[in-house]
Subunit: 638 residues, 2 copies
């Protein structure tokens, strides 16, 4: 049992994840966001959990005053647990008596609501409430428990043996879950996957094979028509095809990713190579056919679901923040498992990087107190800001909103940012692999006792230079991911001549001495990206990317050229000047109105084009921080 | 008060609609569908209304046994009323003792459920049910009443003075509505527009100014924040902007069209030129920016709503059948009102024709016992047939389905087909205008007593020849619509030389003698249609049209070329041969998999194209009648 501060600690696997106790992000793009998360977002979330009454639900439960006065949706408990998990990771980054006190105070309120048999949910089971387990399709009971378990795991891995009681609360819940749901009991599953991951990690923390077996059972019960049919179809909760027979992720995109992540956990613990292989194939197919250029997943607003292959409309992208986080969880677990089909594990880190920069970083506002729930790739009509005190009912009706009726995303962002250092690096028997680039310090001990210490110095992604400064002496291998987009990257060891490295992994094996420097130079010129021709919705368009960032055109930058991003076309290659990527545009010629379909191309958008003008692009994640605007990533070509 | 058999009888207006007593469709495309409607669909619907228990709800109400046992959604009553309306029109087409008996039997069951004060709804107001008017946002009480009124109007106009009691039931309900909702009472509206049209026509049938005033009040209360805010926003039920200040249709597409149609009724009766002009502008803007090439409207599945301007994804088209029918209702009312801005009223008939052929005709299956609720323009994955006994919960999960949980579309199609002859022709002081082409006989009397009689002989849209054979003697003007797509049309009067006519209206004023023939020749060669460049979702694609029909590529016609409509491109112009339109295609070159975005066009869909092969297209409305298939209207160009 690992005591490293990691969210995922498989018993086996090719690579061991380094935890918050081994990796510290010390600044830069992600360091800034971690700081904002700590200084603004966590308090913002706790304020909302109090003012919305979702924390108060536990007090009412403890006082025997439910169901009267209960507030929030049936899954509101889970937001408290995700917040606790975020606090646990934040406390794993550095001590804070204030945060520690807040953490313990909430755990006490949660624990007080636990019933004698271990059941712990504020929306079910009391007189006047629906019976326990009576609505597995929509009730989210096990989903909430899964988040509780993850919070307890985060706490145990960052404060082993803490006497706050959260782990004991969780194991009592987990014992009850096993009593109720093991074969011979209620042989069903939760309509929203999550408990699988939670149980698998709780098993790893406690050493309980029963929890691991329960996780496996839940995973395997999916796809057997276990739940009732619903209007969205059984694929909505992945109960349509058995998990090892599925070919691609489908249905609700958060559910699909959470289930897949939990299934990797199960496969790793059970040594189930067939299951692992099925999940690798599903991941590859999902990336090839159902993922936005941002890494976002989910193209249906109606059921928050994946669409069919290549159904990726930018203007109706749902790309839920939580689905992006779920995708990071799934990819990270496959990375740790290692790869068999060739190509290495870097493809998983590539998608993680893409998703972190272009989905997870897009969600929070600059002040850390408002969030996108859905992350559209094309905003046609400027949305107004949400009222700062408002709770938003609709995930797409405003600019970033401070809170939602269904507020899964804000605490999910918070726990992800607080634990982000745990996704930076791994170790194997002979060294350390760097998967994400940020200013960081890495200190670890390999399995055979060799100490490895180095710092990463970089202003990535502003610039493409990544300097690894070794701080320990000894022979080991440094692995550096060369992103898939980084054609022309170069690696330099000390004063040696630079050598070209190709996308994948560049290994440097040396008998290092403290002060040695390894420098990776990643090419940061803007790139013109074209879509697979089967993605109908962006045919004839290009996206501009720079490093790991997808760029966007925001109407506020059109200046005197107007305010509509929808009537311009790209008229040339992007250039970088004065620190910004600029692209030449021309206005489209369009008719004044009338039936918008006709035989003559010249009459529809034809005519003599205007002169080109140059407009700066912004990082997509930075859009909608300057007030109402329209925006698009995919730009039509002239 | 007109006693002609028409669904819409404005007191004034440029054109008087000819009713079922004046126009008979005698065969052809629409005649076949009317026959199928009469022989299969009506009985199918009645069977479902019985087996689903929605008719039985009225019996339970009469027996005082509600709410226990009530079945169906809160708006289930409305389906009975739409079915009654369909029966009334069908009985207006020709006598049928059997239908007459069925009509009267249902009216008796409905009437028995009416409460002493006139209230008549099976889902509200009894102990154990929600209170009357307690949920105007979602309750659909007034919506149901509106359909009741339309049924009573249809009956009164096809069987004036019938002693079945439906009109008396309706006026008692309408009196109650006025008592409750007039200013000083509940100053609100229904979340689903419909009662406005119903009250306006009931006023025309009964001569009650009170009903007309109530209709006007309901129309004017929209857009004033009258209803509670909902998650979809107030635009969902058009309560966001006052109707005379709105610029375009928005929100739920059926609600928006029904409200607009009712508002035209109100504007006509009140002589409110400003309101009428606002509605004409909204119609024009909606057609220019928010309408599919099929005439379909609504691009959001989530809220069954219009999207933003030019947000018209073919693969996520909702294009609800009922929205198409609502659009026909709105357009027809504007046509009757006449036009002021130039261009004539033919644009309204153009959209009606497009919508009838490509939305309304698409919904029912060939056997008339299954229906599309949503009408996608691009089916990426073949759907399986719905179970013939099943009630479909999801409007897009199968091929046409026999019935739906929300089953508004089947009876809406039935009433539309049964009354279709009333949308064919109008009269003004000097003659008759033909707006739709079908084999038909037309017999009417102009305002000054001149008798006009003629037959229409045509196999349109198979062929483009429309022969009008005059059967009466006298001087009058025959107006023939030349569709907007019919560049190169020719008109011939008797043995005279043909003359070219341009889109709009071709008038022939003659002192006709019986036997005179006027022949319109419409060009029926397939046309290549390109979209406005702002419609991102179909950039780089063409649609093929022929006459009023939009054509489609169905996978079943790809033959040895494979079964996926999504990896072919158009490689040349369509040709017509052996009675079918054929188009040369080539297979797209696509990569085997991997990240679907890249810099090199050649690596994504590039390479040497295969040889072209020729594939027949079908009429879009005819797709999915040969089993599971994929389909697309918009075809990428090579």
């Amino acid at each position: 049992m690992s005591h490293h501060s990691v969210p995922v600690a498989p018993a086996r696997g090719a690579l061991r994840p380094l935890g918050l106790d081994e990796v510290t992000i010390s600044g830069g793009f992600w360091g800034d966001r971690q700081q904002r998360n700590a200084q603004a977002t966590l308090a913002h979330i706790e304020g909302k959990l109090e003012s919305e009454g979702w924390l108060g639900n536990f007090d009412l439960a403890a006082a025997g005053r439910l169901p009267e006065g209960r507030r929030g949706r049936e899954f509101a408990d889970s937001e408290i647990y995700k917040y606790l998990e975020a606090l646990a990771w934040e406390l794993g980054r550095h001590d804070s008596p204030d945060l520690e006190q807040r953490f313990r105070a909430i755990v006490m309120r949660v624990a007080a609501a636990q019933q004698p048999d271990g059941y712990l949910h504020t929306a079910f089971g009391r007189p006047g409430q629906r019976a326990r387990w009576s609505d597995l399709e929509w009730g989210h009971e096990l989903y909430c428990f899964g988040h509780l378990f993850q919070a307890a795991v985060a706490r145990e891995r960052t404060r082993p043996g803490a006497d706050d009681g959260l782990l004991a609360v969780s194991t009592r819940v987990a014992d009850l879950v096993c009593d109720v749901f093991e074969d011979g009991g209620i042989e069903s599953i939760c309509g929203h996957a999550e408990v699988e991951m939670g149980l698998a990690e709780l098993a790893r923390v406690t050493g309980s094979p029963r929890y691991a077996a329960m996780a496996r059972t839940f995973v395997e019960r999916h796809g057997r028509g276990t739940l009732r049919e619903i209007a969205y179809g059984r694929e909505y909760f992945q109960d349509d095809v058995a998990i090892r027979e599925a070919e691609v992720l489908r249905g609700h995109a958060v559910r699909a990713n959470y289930l897949s992540a939990g299934a990797v956990d199960v496969a790793m613990d059970a040594g189930d190579a067939d299951l692992l292989d099925a999940l690798r194939r599903q991941w590859a197919q999902t990336v090839a056919t159902r993922t936005y250029v941002t890494g976002g997943q989910g193209s249906h607003h109606e059921d928050e679901a994946f669409g069919d292959d290549f159904e990726l409309p930018p203007d109706r992208a749902y790309s839920e923040t939580c689905a992006g986080i779920g995708s990071v969880m799934f990819s990270w677990r496959l990375l740790l498992a290692g790869d068999i089909g060739g190509g290495g594990v870097e493809k998983y880190a590539d998608l993680i990087e893409r998703t972190l920069y272009n989905v997870v970083a897009t969600s929070p506002s600059r002040d850390g107190r408002a969030f996108y729930y859905a992350n559209t790739l094309h905003q046609r009509v400027a949305r107004q800001p949400a009222h700062p005190e408002a709770t938003s009912a609709n995930a797409a009706s405003s600019l970033r909103a401070p809170w939602f009726d269904v507020s899964c995303c804000p605490p999910n962002v918070a726990r992800t940012l607080a634990s982000l250092a745990a996704y930076v690096a791994t170790a194997d028997d002979d060294g350390v692999q760097l998967h994400q680039y940020a200013p960081a310090s890495v200190r670890t001990v390999l399995a055979d006792g060799r100490e490895v210490a180095f710092d990463v110095e970089t202003s990535y992604p502003d610039a493409g230079t990544v300097r690894v400064v070794v701080r320990s002496a000894g022979e080991w291998t440094l692995g550096l991911r060369v992103p898939s987009w980084a054609e022309g990257a170069q690696l330099r060891v000390g004063d040696e001549l630079p050598v070209a490295v190709t996308p994948g992994r560049a290994d440097v094996r040396r008998d290092f001495v403290a002060g040695d420097v390894v420098t990776l130079e990643l090419p940061m010129a803007p790139r013109v990206t074209r879509p697979d021709p089967r993605i109908d919705a962006v045919r004839g368009c290009v996206a501009i990317e720079r490093g790991p960032e997808v760029l966007a055109l925001e109407s506020l930058d059109l200046g005197p050229a107007g305010d509509d991003v929808d009537d311009v076309v790209v008229a040339g290659d992007p250039v970088e000047r004065d620190g910004r990527v600029r692209v030449p545009l021309r206005r489209m010629k369009v008719d004044a109105g009338g039936w918008p379909y006709g035989g003559d191309a010249a009459s529809i958008g034809g005519g003599v084009p205007e002169e080109a003008f140059e407009v700066p692009l912004i990082s997509y994640h930075d859009w909608a921080n300057r007030g109402p605007s329209t925006m698009r990533i995919w730009l039509p070509e002239a």
